[in-house]
């Protein structure tokens, strides 16, 4: 994907040094934060950059003839260009700013869906999907009389390409899959999924929430049709997200929400709409959010996504090794390729009880169904304990997690 000759050599991640850039660590001494999969902490560059933007350059965008508005517009559109480059998209007009991945997916389901999906058509999702990449498709299918089908993971936790292929047919119009599972950390073979789906004429939407902050993503190399992610899981602010779509697809889609900023002409009888991306950005957008997203993506690029992946891969391996030595602990399988997310259960102890005990040992993890109830049902469990990683985590954090889990076992075995 990346040209080896031109790619910059990247220094290894030094999490201890990086923590100095994350004020949350200064204000919460001893914090062992293992919930970046839900939302990552924010570096000072993002926090201060947003404040600075409000102080110096803020006005509404795409409206004013005055210079301040132009500066604000330039900053907003610079964020779009940074996002384009980050995804290696062909055109900045393919980048639609949304409130988050949830809104990005709902946009496609509600705009593309009724326009291009008919009764009897099918949509395929994986059984690993977050509710945000499941419920919008379920609602769409109910609305137009289409059928939602679920591609299974195999017993090892990996995506079952053969079973997926067997589900595809000429009726399949959309395939919606996650890039990296938020429950198991499994990396899905998106390139292969795209090949198989495209061979049947289906489009592919990828939920990239977990992939964006920790591995290189090149939408043209992936070959997918839509790619969605949230800013807040990528060290950026909450309230901003991205939908990337191939331009000809976006151009053929009707507006979703309507209002100001997305029209070319409005009369009593009819309205003409702008071209993408503005067609899908009704109302005043989260301008500072976009600026914050740019700063977050710059932060990730400064560290280097290969370096981040290497760091988190190493830590994931170390955590698996530490946790699998704990008796009665069962890791949820993730197939051959897992990144930065570890879900587990302890025999006889409910995940919520584990979460409470871990918290009192200073270890912040997520417990519950992780917005993936179909997967929980398949695994026959109510929930899991989930540790997820960020650039600021190190082996000491994994040791603290393991020690807190051991303390939990002791507490409940008395």
């Amino acid at each position: 994907m990346n040209d080896l000759v031109t790619s910059k050599p990247q220094a290894a991640i030094d999490p201890r040094a990086l923590r100095r850039e994350f004020p949350v660590y200064r204000h919460n001494p001893g914090l062992v934060f293992l919930d970046s999969g839900a939302s990552a902490q924010k570096p000072a560059a993002v926090i201060d950059g947003i404040a600075e933007f409000y102080r110096r350059d803020y006005a509404n965008v795409h409206r004013g003839v005055y210079r301040l508005s132009q500066r604000s517009t330039d900053a907003f559109e610079a964020a779009r260009e940074t996002t384009r480059a980050f995804l290696n998209a062909a055109d900045a007009n393919e980048i639609v700013f949304t409130r988050g991945a949830t809104e990005s997916i709902n946009l496609v389901a509600q705009s593309w869906g009724p326009a291009f999906l008919a009764r009897g058509d099918e949509i395929v999702v994986s059984d690993l999907e977050h509710h945000s990449n499941f419920v919008p498709w379920q609602m769409l299918c109910q609305r137009v009389g289409a059928r939602l089908r679920m591609a299974p993971t195999d017993p090892s936790g990996g995506f079952d390409l053969a079973a997926f292929d067997a589900l595809l047919s000429a009726r399949t119009k959309m395939v919606a899959v996650t890039h990296v599972s938020n429950v198991t950390g499994a990396i899905l073979p998106v390139e292969r999924i795209v090949e198989l789906a495209h061979a049947r004429g289906a489009l592919v939407l990828v939920d990239g929430c977990q992939a964006i902050p920790r591995m290189p993503v090149d939408v043209q190399a992936l070959g997918c049709d839509f790619y969605a992610f949230s800013g807040h899981k990528a060290y950026g602010p909450s309230g901003i997200g991205v939908l990337w779509g191939r331009y000809e697809l976006l151009a053929a889609m009707p507006p979703w929400q309507t209002g100001g900023g997305m029209i070319t002409q409005v009369t009593l009888e009819r309205t003409e709409f702008q071209d993408p991306p503005h067609r899908f950005e009704a109302g005043t957008p989260d301008i500072a959010g976009a600026v914050g997203l740019k700063l977050a993506l710059d932060f990730i690029e400064r560290l280097g996504r290969e370096a981040i992946r290497e760091h988190e891969e190493g830590l994931t391996g170390y955590a698996i090794d530490r946790l699998s030595r704990i008796p009665d602990l069962h890791l949820v399988a993730a197939g051959q390729r897992r990144l930065s997310v570890l879900s587990f259960n302890l025999d006889g102890i409910h995940p919520h009880d584990v979460g409470t005990v871990l918290d009192r040992h200073g270890v912040a993890v997520r417990v519950g169904h992780h917005c993936a109830q179909p997967l929980m049902d398949k695994l026959g469990i109510a929930g899991t304990v989930r540790a997820s990683l960020g650039v600021y985590n190190d082996r000491n954090d994994m040791d603290a997690l393991a020690a807190a889990v051991e303390a939990c076992r002791e507490m409940f075995s008395r």
């Binding site: 102890i349 919520h352 009192r360 040992h361 200073g362 519950g368 109510a382 929930g383 409940f412």
Partner: protein, 155 residues
């Protein structure tokens, strides 16, 4: 650091969490309702046999964390044989104690039952866990009201 955890997970909680009492269905209950905590997926079904204004039998089934299982188990223990008015008084007092409200005094005849529930009040220091302790009580109350087809949700 673990001292306050011991306050929450007292021996009696762990005991009732592992070996819940009255953990069974009643074949022909006069009242029943389901409770569901969507946050953690905990589910409980409460069964009642009410004769006149007295709770002749009460039981529960479901799956949940140590707190919610122990809360349901202890609830069934204290409710059995009580009048509906006594049951309401116990719930009102318990609810106030775990949510940090003003618990009114219980009538002398119920003081012992109030003490039976005391170990659960440790949850008030854990706002995210209060719902675990109140879920079975909400299901109980829903059962009295006629047990809606939809499970009662916490708060």
């Amino acid at each position: 650091m673990t001292m306050d955890l011991r306050e929450l997970y007292q021996d009696i909680i762990l005991d009732h969490g592992r070996h819940p009492r009255n953990f069974r269905a009643i074949a022909h209950p006069t009242h029943t309702a389901k409770g569901h905590n969507p946050l953690c997926g905990d589910r409980v079904t409460v069964y009642l046999t009410i004769e006149g204004d007295r709770i002749a039998d009460v039981s529960f089934e479901g799956r949940g964390c140590a707190i919610s299982t122990a809360a349901a188990s202890l609830m069934t223990e204290v409710l059995k044989g009580k009048t509906l008015a006594e049951a309401q008084a116990l719930f009102a007092q318990f609810h106030a104690r775990v949510t940090g409200g003003e618990p009114g005094a219980l009538p002398g005849t119920l003081a012992e039952d109030g003490e039976r529930l005391e170990p659960l009040t440790g949850v008030k220091a854990y706002p995210a866990r209060v719902k675990c302790a109140t879920l079975p009580w909400h299901a109980f109350e829903a059962a009295l009201k006629g047990g809606a087809a939809v499970p009662v949700k916490t708060e």
